[in-house]
């Protein structure tokens, strides 16, 4: 008997989860716009354009982090190439934004400025259709998806896994970065795409446009979290975590891990692409350095800091790491790399479950203490069996084993 999807959806998140979703949506779609547009700039509760752009950017990163968590936290596959999918989505959508500039570029040409600079007379074939919004959106999802599918098909089929897989994804990203750095590739080379003017006819710098983009980022993040919840709760999710914990056993039972890995890998890449498409109009630039090796590894640390194998953890991690990056790079730029490096080391050494795991641990310890105190009180009153161990309440206690 199959449970209907709507029932699954409601059951998956639970009443408290839905309440949280509603609260976040309310803040993002009602309170923040009001605080931005209605309050004067001097007001302490005013939300500045800078803050909205920064948070919108971090929300896009958070979507990437959740997508990363789906394959790493639940699938046990550490990708060092997610920056590529993010950037591919960004570039796909950036093509549309470039076309929207129209004749307002420095050369007053129908072609984007960098093509005029290269003395190209017409758009290359892969730019055709780039002036349609929906086609660009489709590309932003489809291109990373197709790249991921082809790469994943070959990698998973030959059972490349563990560090082998990680390094090969890194090599793929590196090669792609070199490829995009070339001017002849047709994506603006070193400078990438920038100087966007409008999106769907609206000015890209107008506060209303910014708010809509911000709201869309929140919506995307919520949708991705809900999708993740449903996926993880489904039979698919159970097989996926089983593959993470022992791939050989799952194979011996009769499942083919390739299909499961390939699906989650491709899905994760497509979500990254979507996040990239939302990121570019908010930040206003996309260039090949988004594909650098360091960027992709940083995505992994967002997930690790927040907590693998949970869906809230990556969001927290992306927030914590990126806010500290903003703070460090403005206040102590020379210590940022030290901080980031130590974060990598200390989190893997001492916080294998991330911040969420730390929180769960603290809660568990409190519960244990309370239980001990209670049982002592009971022992004092009358001899009784000891309370059950509180440790079993840690969510996803097995997550550390497979990774």
């Amino acid at each position: 008997m199959r449970t209907p999807l709507t029932v699954k959806l409601f059951a998956g998140l639970g009443p408290r989860g839905w309440l949280a979703v509603a609260a976040v949506a309310f803040i993002a779609w009602v309170l923040v716009p009001m605080a931005h547009l209605m309050l004067p700039e001097s007001h302490p509760l005013h939300v500045s354009t800078y803050a909205i752009t920064l948070i919108g950017k971090i929300l896009c990163y958070a979507v990437v982090a959740v997508a990363m968590d789906l394959i790493w936290g639940f699938g046990g596959i550490l990708s060092l190439g997610h920056g590529l999918f993010f950037a591919l989505g960004g570039y796909s959508f950036g093509m549309y934004l470039m076309r929207q500039i129209g004749r307002e570029g420095s050369y007053q040409s129908d072609l984007p400025d960098f093509m005029v600079f290269l003395d190209w007379k017409e758009l290359p074939w892969y730019w055709s259709g780039s002036d349609h919004f929906l086609w660009a959106l489709f590309l932003a999802i489809a291109v990373p998806g197709v790249v991921a599918w082809i790469f994943g098909y070959f990698a998973f089929r030959s059972r490349i896994k563990g560090v082998y897989f990680s390094i090969i994804t890194q090599a793929m990203t590196y090669a792609a970065m070199l490829f995009f750095f070339r001017n002849e590739t047709g994506f603006g080379g070193n400078n990438g795409f920038t100087d966007f003017k409008r999106i769907l006819g609206y000015s890209i710098t107008a506060p209303e446009t910014r708010l809509v983009l911000f709201g869309l980022s929140v919506a995307l993040l919520l949708a991705v979290i809900i999708l993740g919840k449903v996926l993880i709760a489904s039979k698919f999710g159970k097989v996926l975590t089983a593959i993470r914990d022992s791939e050989n056993r799952v194979m011996f039972i009769g499942y083919n891990p390739v299909h499961y890995k390939l699906f989650i890998w491709t899905l994760s890449a497509m979500l990254c692409g979507l996040a990239g498409a939302l990121y570019v109009p908010q930040v206003g630039i996309i260039n090949p350095s988004e594909m650098s090796v360091a960027n992709s590894i940083e995505i992994a640390i967002w997930v690790a800091v927040g907590g693998r194998g949970t869906l809230v953890g990556p969001v927290l991690g992306a927030g914590i790491v990126n806010l500290s990056k903003t703070w460090f790079t403005t206040s102590f730029p020379e210590y940022w790399l030290f901080f980031l490096g130590l974060l990598f080391i200390l989190v893997t050494l001492y916080l294998p479950q991330g911040v969420v795991g730390l929180w769960a641990k603290i809660k568990a310890r409190r519960a244990e203490k309370a239980a001990i105190a209670a049982s002592r009180a009971e022992v004092a009153a009358a001899p009784a069996p000891r309370a059950p161990a509180a440790e079993s309440k840690i969510p996803n206690g097995t997550a550390a084993k497979g990774a």
Partner: protein, 529 residues
């Protein structure tokens, strides 16, 4: 045609002038007609072994020739000498006008002076003159008699072939068809692009009226092209081997640590950087304390880099990697963190800019194998050095107790532990040795590449590819994979450019892993993960 006539007249004329310095012809130097002037200089050059002619050429080169009325004179301090005979003229002419040379004439005068030096009794001077002329001889046809004379006199085995080539090059402009034909035939044995450029105009009927010579030039160019292609290929193979030996030095250490512990050390590239900065520090130390031995700082840097990098590596293993045992993916992240810390530490210690590490004098220059194939000494030394390191690692792995333990742990850790191998200590030592080898690689790299804080970042992917391709725990695999990758990359670069080459190599490796996931050389045995 005009040029040819001019050449013929010059040829005849040079024959006459060679006998003695004709005062009438010296007068032509003062002529307003450029062609006459040039012919006069050419005649002087042809008579270059004559003492009077040499004196006049020298004076021309020094701008000491002047025209006084109808006579051409040499102004030497207070004295005024007759240009043709060198006899002092008394009384000195009242007013003289200095003779000016344009660039083309000056080039010819210099060429003639150099050609005169070909007859010198000093061997070194003859050799230097021959080399200078080979690089640039101006209008060679005028110097041909001199070349012929020098060639007839020359006994030295090194100078003679150069003279022969000079004579052949000069003879290309000779009016004598047989002479030209012979010259083309002589030059077809050359392997130089410069000679090819000299022969190319002969293919055109406008420059070369004689069909026989044109055909012969065509065959000669083909022969030269074949030789050029051969030395190009040899050059690419050499740069490929040189790149491969660097990859080998970077990958040997990684192969050991990955083989023993199954973890990828993302800070491996930074250990290269540590080695390179050790070389930099030794250079600074030698410059400050032992300036007389500064050329040998590299020799001192080798052990220092090994031990510094090994110490850093062992520290990393003890403090971080050991605690992540059995969690390879997290080790990867933690070592990435270590690499960030090392990069930033290098930036704070030595500055964010690249530092200058100079080649010692004995490593600069190169061996010239062909006109377009020269092997730089620093690359040759590095190839030899990586061979030496490879030998040491092979001895260590196969002839020592430690090496036996390392191999045992690589093959089967629990079983090695069961028979009493101290696996934890072996881990630390193996990591130290692997890191030390990376440090050695850093010294080698400091001699050919920029030394800066992020220099190691590019090497981790490449060296891991070597390990993947070669198979884990196999020295032979690492050697073949490194050299093969190096040579293939260089050939692809020549064919498709650096970026496409990188992508192609990557795609090739991914396809290769499909066929042979265990690498080129797999350990024999059964494994389950």
């Amino acid at each position: 045609m005009k040029r040819l006539l001019f050449l013929i007249s010059l040829w005849l004329w040079a024959g006459v002038a060679a006998a003695a310095l004709d005062p009438a012809r010296v007068k032509d130097l003062a002529s307003d007609d450029f062609d006459v002037k040039q012919a006069a200089v050419a005649a002087l050059a042809a008579a270059g072994d004559d003492a009077d002619a040499q004196r006049l050429l020298k004076a021309l080169s020094d701008d000491a020739v002047a025209v006084a009325g109808e006579r051409v004179v040499i102004v030497a301090g207070d004295q005024v000498l007759d240009a043709a005979t060198g006899a002092a003229i008394k009384p000195a002419p009242a007013n003289s006008e200095s003779l000016s040379l344009n660039n083309s004439l000056r080039q010819q005068v210099d060429g003639a002076l150099a050609a005169v030096r070909l007859l010198s009794t000093d061997r070194a001077e003859r050799l230097a003159a021959a080399r200078a002329l080979l690089a640039d001889m101006g209008d060679g046809a005028a110097l041909l008699p001199l070349f012929d004379k020098a060639l007839a006199q020359e006994q030295d085995g090194e100078i003679k072939p150069i003279l022969a080539q000079l004579a052949a090059q000069a003879a290309l402009g000779s009016p004598d068809v047989a002479r030209r034909l012979q010259a083309v035939r002589d030059l077809s044995g050359s392997g130089s692009a410069a000679v090819k450029a000299l022969l190319l105009p002969l293919l055109d009927a406008a420059n070369e009226p004689e069909e026989k010579v044109r055909l012969e030039a065509g065959t000669a160019i083909k022969a030269i092209d074949a030789r050029l292609a051969w030395s190009d290929t040899a050059g690419q193979i050499f740069t490929g081997i040189s790149l491969g030996s660097i990859l080998l030095l970077a990958a040997l250490g990684l192969a050991i640590t990955y083989g023993v512990m199954g973890v990828i050390n993302m800070a491996h590239g930074e250990l290269l950087m540590v080695g390179a900065y050790s070389a930099y520090a030794m250079q600074a130390l030698f410059r400050a304390k032992f300036p007389e031995f500064v050329d040998y700082y590299v020799l001192a840097a080798v052990p220092v880099a090994f031990f510094v990098a090994a110490a850093v590596g062992m520290l990393m293993e003890r403090t971080v990697i050991r605690h992540l045992y059995g969690r390879p993916l997290e080790t990867l992240l933690a070592t990435w963190g270590l690499s960030l810390v090392l990069i930033q530490a290098a930036r704070l210690l030595f500055g964010a800019q690249n530092v200058e590490v100079a080649n010692p004098a004995w490593m600069s220059g190169g061996v010239q194998l062909a006109e377009n194939l020269s092997l730089p000494w620093n690359r040759l030394v590095i190839v030899a050095f990586s061979g030496f390191v490879l030998l040491l690692v092979w001895l260590m792995m196969n002839k020592t107790r430690l090496g036996m333990f390392v191999r045992a742990v690589t093959q089967n850790r629990p079983m090695a532990g069961c028979v009493g191998v101290p696996t934890a200590r072996i881990d630390t030592l193996a990591f130290g040795i692997g890191s030390g080898i990376a440090g050695l690689g850093g010294v080698a790299l400091s001699q050919i590449a920029n030394v800066g804080p992020d220099m190691g970042q590019g090497y981790i992917v490449d060296s891991f590819m070597v390990v993947v391709l070669g198979g884990v725990g196999q020295l032979a695999g690492a050697v073949w994979a490194a050299l093969g990758l190096g040579v293939v990359t260089k050939f692809l670069e020549g064919w498709a450019g650096a970026v496409i080459a990188k992508i192609l190599v990557l795609v090739f490796i991914i396809i290769f892993i499909q066929k042979r996931p265990q690498g080129l050389f797999a350990l024999k045995g059964r494994f389950v993960d």
